[in-house]
Amino acid sequence: MTVTEPGSPSIPMTTVPEVSSPPPPRPAGPFPAGLKTRMETRRLSFFYGKNQALHGISLAIPEKSVTALIGPSGCGKSTYLRCLNRMNDIIPNTRVEGEVLLDGHDIYGPGTDVVDLRRRVGMVFQRSNPFPKSIFENVAYGLKINGLCRHSELPERVEKALRASALWDEVKERMHTSALGLSGGQQQRLCIARALAVEPEVLLMDEPASALDPIATQKIEELIYDLKRDYTIAIVTHNMQQAARVSEYTAFFMLGRLVEHDRTEKIFTNPGQKITEDYITGRFG
């Protein structure tokens, strides 16, 4: 393990000690003993054509907690996130090496039902993208196409999801009006409700509040804080205060490599790598 000054051509590497399957606690890692790992990548590399965007990322995401992925623009954190629910599959000419485990099973292995995977690992995008339908229909969409409940149960499930995303009170009177009539922050919470409706086990959030004003951002952060009681969450964010506020664990990415992964308080108060410290204190990025 070499540590070099930032600004020099080579990038310092920290490899998190390998975890053997299934998920026992890491010896010297950031996790307390007995904590279950929900998703894990092992030596995950990703290629856009000839360009290697991710270099051997080994990272574990423990359940019922929030793991924040931070790093400068272009460091690969969004690409990494999209590997976790195989959203990168729809981009042509890409390649994956290594393993991505959901509860111990490699999602890139043969026999994986990608459609079911995406129901179990949900995603919320940077820009809200509601369908041009009513609020009700948006939330019900995932339930309908996956056939998750009877038609008569839809209103109940929709309400449950909207309550979970703290939107119910604001929209209960206008469930059948267009989702596009909501404000930006409300649309994003609608997208979260839509993702929650299919009862995923893991929720991936790609900069969910970056397009929102401070008040809406605050609401989203409070929501994330509530959700982690029941869901495993991985959130990409460029806002370090946000990462510090909502997450238990933080992973710092740089140029497609995982530099440091530890408890959030440690990363932000006493990071192990100098380059991490430089990023957090704003010296670059």
Binding site: D113, V115, D116, I145, N146, G147
Partner: protein, 282 residues
């Protein structure tokens, strides 16, 4: 079948059907080209290109006058449509915001969709009825009405692609708006404008309906504008619906020449565009 695999199957079936749709559409394309080339080629001979049609009942003859007639007609159409379309396009690009500009734009698109036979009726009333005579001029006029909206819209769109900093630079140097528009903007957009014109030409050279009662037809060779004139399209039509086998053969030959003509025009358009673009870059 379980739910997910049924959905998966449906998805795959639909994807296959979409590919099938493409293949299905290519079948008539292949068939048309095949028959036109096969039937037309065997009927092409030197006489076809050099002789006039023979009277009814006699075999042989050609469509020389029709080919020349088509060239004359599209020449007349261009002479009218190119200036009108070009200048109208300049207006739309220079004064794009106003309500009038939107109205013109909308109208041009509407004009594009008017059936060619209706344009023929209009040209008939305008240029044939008053003088009680079919003429090449009337035919050219009808064709020009079809070219105008195409040239107008492509000119406007191409001019909009030229960065307005060019215009502002010219104006800042003291040029009038006219100079800036015609001396700077139009030459900058010329390759694309030329393509638009050639595309319009390719389109109208295949038109038949508007010529049926404007330029009508003529068994003889003529270059006069105030007389009916033969055209390739009308000649092919006349021969095609006739009961004579020999005329049918010649109709195929005429169709082949027509398709080849349009094809050459499109290729020409591409070459000219590329040549002009290269001139611009140096």
């Amino acid at each position: 079948m379980t739910q997910p695999s049924r959905r998966r199957l449906l998805s795959n079936v639909v994807v296959g059907l979409c590919g099938g749709a493409v293949l299905l559409a290519l079948v008539p394309l292949a068939l048309v080209f095949f028959y036109v080339i096969k039937q037309g080629f065997s009927s092409l001979n030197w006489a076809f290109f050099t002789q006039m049609p023979k009277p009814v009942g006699e075999t042989g003859g050609g469509m020389a006058n029709a080919m020349v007639g088509t060239l004359i007609l599209i020449g007349i159409a261009s002479a009218i449509a190119i200036p009108v379309g070009l200048i109208a396009g300049v207006y739309l690009s220079e004064y794009a915001g106003g309500k009038f500009a939107s109205a013109v734009r909308f109208t041009a698109d509407v004009l594009n969709g008017v059936p060619s036979i209706v344009i023929g009726i209009f040209a008939y009333g305008l240029a044939v009825l008053p003088v009680h005579r079919f003429s090449a001029l009337a035919g050219g006029l009808a064709l020009s009405f079809m070219m105008i909206p195409i040239i107008t819209r492509t000119t406007e769109e191409l001019l909009n692609l030229v960065p307005s900093s060019l215009r502002e630079g010219a104006l800042a140097l003291g040029a009038t708006r006219a100079r800036a528009a015609f001396g700077v903007m139009v030459p900058a957009a010329l390759p694309g404008i030329m393509t638009g014109i050639l595309v319009a030409l390719a389109r109208i050279s295949g038109e038949t309906a508007p010529l049926l009662f404007t330029s009508f037809n003529n068994r003889f060779f003529t270059a006069r504008l105030d007389q009916p004139i033969a055209s390739l399209t009308v000649q092919v039509y006349t021969y095609a619906i006739s009961p004579y086998d020999d005329w049918h053969r010649q109709a195929w030959a005429g169709a082949l020449v027509l398709v080849a003509f349009i094809f050459i025009f499109s290729v020409l358009a591409r070459i000219v565009t590329r040549r002009l673009e290269r001139m611009h870059r140096t």
